[in-house]
């Protein structure tokens, strides 16, 4: 069971995508789940579906992350195909070990999972269909804050019968956040998220929460995502830019805009990168993003403390 | 004296010969009507004479110089060509349409031909267009447009004037008008070649006839030799009666 390595990775607190697991918690957990599932199936087949779903299918990339983190591969009938793309999916390697789906109703029919987990904004047709036949379906809204993350994790944990695993994921996240809060940075740098995908996150977004948790101040103060162009970047003159690394080098139009000569000239050295896969979805791993960001901010603090050369009386 | 000499010209259109071994000489001061049934190759012959279509065999010479070796602009300065039912695509004023006839005389850079305006005035006047000079060419009636096109063709004083069906679609008054203008150009020394369907008009104005049938030039001779019943009935496959009264020749077709 190679896929099990990943919850071990999380439980051990080492983060990242390592395959080396620490055997003990995993084995215990698997046994418990199996025992419980089997017991229910044997004792009361009719109730198995209502009580603890045995086999889960996820058709949303964010739900995929939690399902992959909470369940052993044999209890996952499939996750969405996007989950295999390490640009978007933190647990892409684990996802590669279970079948992939494209979120269609046909796939639900063929795989016949005990529970389908979907996002509230995607695969509308499938969700409507499943709802109309009262198929066991859990619809999960995207988490936009750490509080949301706790709620979503608990909800999915309860639905798939992995309450304990869910709690331990949350506990680990809270411990990381508590550590960050207890060790404030020497200076709270003003940062802007510069992805040039056209939109920068402001108040009320998960990204903003990650920035705040890392000890930075977001220069975009409006609520929600909004476009943020080079001119505004120049005017708001942040100490550092936070760029999302899309994991690997798949080229795109955004590269061109990110490379605006002014941005390169003034923020070429004042940039930090964190993998996009850590924050595209609100999961307990989002605290990991905050930790990494803190580390990156500290590495750049010498540069960030210097005033920007063009900022005089205007600032 | 301008001589346009055609020797052994053939044009192949797929498997068919549009023109086959055509030889003829067109001289200045003569108005030649090219006649023949539909599809005989009249338009093709005119395009060859105008140097717009290179023959597959044979040659066309203008005063001894092969047309194929003349530069486009060079040729355009001495020859004017009007295709069948010529029209103007944009609402340009009649005066500017006529001015387009001076295109080959324009210097490489610049928009003015020395003495151009006088030439335009003369062309407008000779085609009775002075009243219409500011009208948009797209709003002209058929007769007016034909006059404008003729003015466009003669504005550069060509030595060679080739006109495809100058009277097509014109009422008798305007058709006669058009023929008279062509005739007067030829009297001024121009070589005029025109494809015509109306044999009565042609009989009245043309000096010579070039008779085409199925791509072959059957005759190229003065009017009197061509406008004979046996020639015409053979050419068009219908009964023909030719009547001569004084200087007038009239042709009647009957089924």
């Amino acid at each position: 069971m190679a896929g099990d390595g990943l919850w071990a990775a999380m439980h051990s607190g080492s983060g990242g995508k390592t395959d080396e697991g620490h055997g003990l918690p995993r084995a215990r957990w698997v046994h418990r789940a199996y025992a419980l599932g089997l017991a229910l199936l044997c004792a009361q087949p009719a109730c198995a579906r209502a009580e603890v779903p045995l086999r889960v299918m996820s058709i949303n990339v964010c739900a995929d992350q939690l399902v992959l983190a909470l369940l052993p591969p044999q209890r996952i009938t499939s996750v969405s195909w996007v989950a295999r793309d390490d640009a978007d999916s933190y647990l892409a390697r684990a996802a590669a070990r279970v079948p992939a789906n494209h979120g269609t109703a046909e796939e639900v029919l063929r795989q016949h999972p005990d529970l389908v987990i979907a996002g509230t904004y995607t695969t509308t047709a499938t969700r409507v269909l499943l709802r109309s036949v009262h198929y066991p379906l859990l619809e999960v809204a995207p988490a936009e804050s750490f509080e949301d993350i706790r709620a979503v994790t608990r909800r999915i944990g309860a639905a798939v019968g992995a309450t304990e695993a869910a709690e331990s994921l949350i506990a680990r996240m809270d411990a990381q956040l508590a550590w960050l809060a207890a060790h404030p940075p020497g200076r709270r740098f003003r940062v802007a998220v510069w992805n040039a995908g056209g939109a920068s996150p402001g108040r009320g977004t998960l990204y903003d929460a990650v920035l705040t948790a890392a000890g930075a101040v977001n220069v975009v103060t409006e609520a929600g995502y909004r476009s943020f162009d080079t001119e505004e970047l120049m005017r708001s003159a942040p100490d550092l830019l936070v760029q999302g690394a899309s994991g690997f080098s798949k080229p795109g139009r955004r590269d061109d805009v990110v490379r605006h000569p002014l941005v390169l000239a003034y923020w070429g050295e004042r940039s930090v990168t964190i993998p996009e896969s850590l924050y595209t979805c609100g999961t307990p791993f989002s605290a990991e993003a905050a930790l990494r960001l803190r580390r990156a901010l500290e590495e750049r603090s010498a540069v960030a403390r210097r005033p920007l050369p063009y900022v005089g009386s205007v600032q | 004296m301008t001589h346009l000499v055609v020797t052994g010209v053939s044009i192949r259109r797929g498997a068919r010969m549009a023109l086959q071994d055509v030889s003829a000489t067109f001289s200045s001061g003569r108005f030649t009507a090219v006649i023949g049934p539909n599809g005989a190759g009249k338009s093709t012959l005119l395009a060859v004479l105008a140097g717009l279509l290179a023959p597959d065999a044979g040659a066309v010479r203008l005063d001894g110089a092969p047309l194929a070796q003349l530069a486009r602009r060079e040729l355009a300065r001495v020859r004017a060509y009007l295709p069948q039912s010529a029209r103007v695509d944009w609402p340009i004023s009649v005066e500017r349409v006529v001015a387009l006839g001076l295109t080959p005389l324009l210097p490489t850079f610049g928009e003015l031909v020395p003495g151009g305006q006088e030439r335009i005035e003369r062309a407008l006047e000779s085609c009775d267009l002075l009243q219409l000079r500011d009208r948009e060419a797209t709003t002209l009636s058929g007769g007016e447009l034909a006059r404008a096109m003729l003015a466009r063709a003669i504005v550069a004083d060509p030595r060679l004037l080739i006109v495809d069906e100058p009277t097509a679609g014109l009422d008798p008054r305007h058709a006669i008008d058009a023929c008279q203008r062509l005739k007067s150009r030829s009297r001024e020394g121009c070589t005029v070649v025109a494809a015509m369907h109306d044999l009565n008009l042609a009989a009245q104005y043309a000096d010579d006839f070039a008779v085409l049938r199925a791509g072959r030039l059957l005759m190229h001779a003065p009017a009197a030799e061509v406008l004979r019943e046996e020639v015409l009935s053979g050419l068009y496959d219908v009964a023909v009666r030719v009547r001569r009264e004084a200087a007038e020749t009239s042709v009647h077709f009957s089924a």
Binding site: E232, K250 | L100
Partner: protein, 328 residues
């Protein structure tokens, strides 16, 4: 002379719009501020925004608009069809296809020239396909060949989207296809300007032939016009200019269609006389639309191409209705 009046008015309008465009943006500048900033020894915020953001954006808007207007005027004259524009011959679409391939298959990240070069290759490819397919010579076959090329190129863009290795490709491409001048720099101006200028010169060389072509192809030829050379100049000029413009500003439709119509009647309808005014009108339209997208405070900014199409499409309808009224 009426023609010069039109030139003067258009020139003044374009200059005025360009001037406004220099000061408008998400960060507004006042002339006073800019003067003060430019005379200061070290560049400050206002100077940087003026010199490195507003100025290249304005220059690019003028160049892109001018080449679109000019190529529209040339193609309308060449095809003697008031609905002709670079898009009709598939040239804009093929340029988009080239740029899309350059960007999503990694060529643009190896050299910055790849984007424009691929755009040009696409545009030239479309132009030569159109030329080849229409070798029989008639204008109609050129238009039909263009329509075919255009749909192939559009399908190609969609296929490239389908197969793009980047998960954001669909989003980015569709945004980029809407056309925009936001966040463009001098680098973009340097990339596009040479192609636009050379293309523009080729297009201007067509003027006399276009005038003669208003009498039809046969008469134009009889007036000493080399039709092949004219087609080649027009298509190569359009491919270079529009290819260069599209690869930095994305696909901006309707300018090529609309600009010549705005000025045609005022310069006596002669195709050659339409060229320079159409270029000026195109520059003015794109600059005005770019100002508008910055003034309309919608977030995210409305794409330039979308804005122009929103205004352009009703105009297109009006043209169609007017033509129908003229022909009936």
């Amino acid at each position: 002379m009426r023609g010069w009046g039109v030139h003067a008015v258009l020139l003044a309008a374009t200059a005025l719009l360009a001037a406004v465009s220099l000061f408008v943006g998400t960060v507004w500048l006042s002339p006073h501020e800019v003067l003060a900033a430019l005379s200061a020894p070290h560049p400050d915020l206002a100077a940087l925004i003026f010199m490195d953001i507003h100025l290249p954006r304005t220059v690019l808007g003028l160049l892109v608009g001018a080449i679109l207007g000019l190529s529209g005027a040339v193609l309308q004259g060449l095809l003697r069809n008031p609905l002709a524009e670079p898009g009709l011959l598939g040239i804009s679409e093929a340029a988009s296809l080239g740029s899309v391939i350059a960007v999503y298959y990694g060529f643009a990240s190896t050299t910055t020239l790849a984007g424009p070069v691929f755009g040009l290759v696409g545009a030239l490819g479309a132009a030569s396909i159109s030329l080849l397919l229409s070798r029989s010579g008639s204008t109609l076959s050129l238009i039909l060949a263009g329509v075919a090329t255009s749909s192939i190129a559009t399908a190609g863009v969609n296929l490239a989207l389908n197969l793009a290795p980047n998960p954001y490709a669909a989003y980015e491409i569709s945004t980029w296809l809407m056309g925009s001048l936001a966040d463009r720099s001098w680098t973009h101006v340097q990339l596009a300007a040479p192609f636009i200028l050379v293309g523009g010169i080729l297009l201007l060389l067509c003027g006399r032939a276009l005038d003669a072509l208003s009498l039809g192809e046969a008469q134009a030829e009889s007036l000493g016009i080399n039709l092949r050379r004219t087609r080649l100049l027009a298509l190569a000029g359009t491919a270079l200019g529009v290819g260069g413009a599209t690869s930095v500003a994305g696909a901006i439709g309707f300018v090529g269609l609309v600009a010549p119509h705005l000025v045609r009647a005022r310069v006596g309808n002669r195709p050659r006389r339409v060229l320079v005014p159409a270029a000026l009108a195109g520059a003015a339209i794109v600059t005005a639309a770019d100002i508008a997208t910055r003034l309309i405070r919608v977030r995210p900014e409305i794409s330039l191409g979308v804005f122009i199409s929103l205004v352009g499409a009703p105009f297109f309808l009006w043209i169609v209705l007017r033509i129908r009224r003229q022909t009936t």
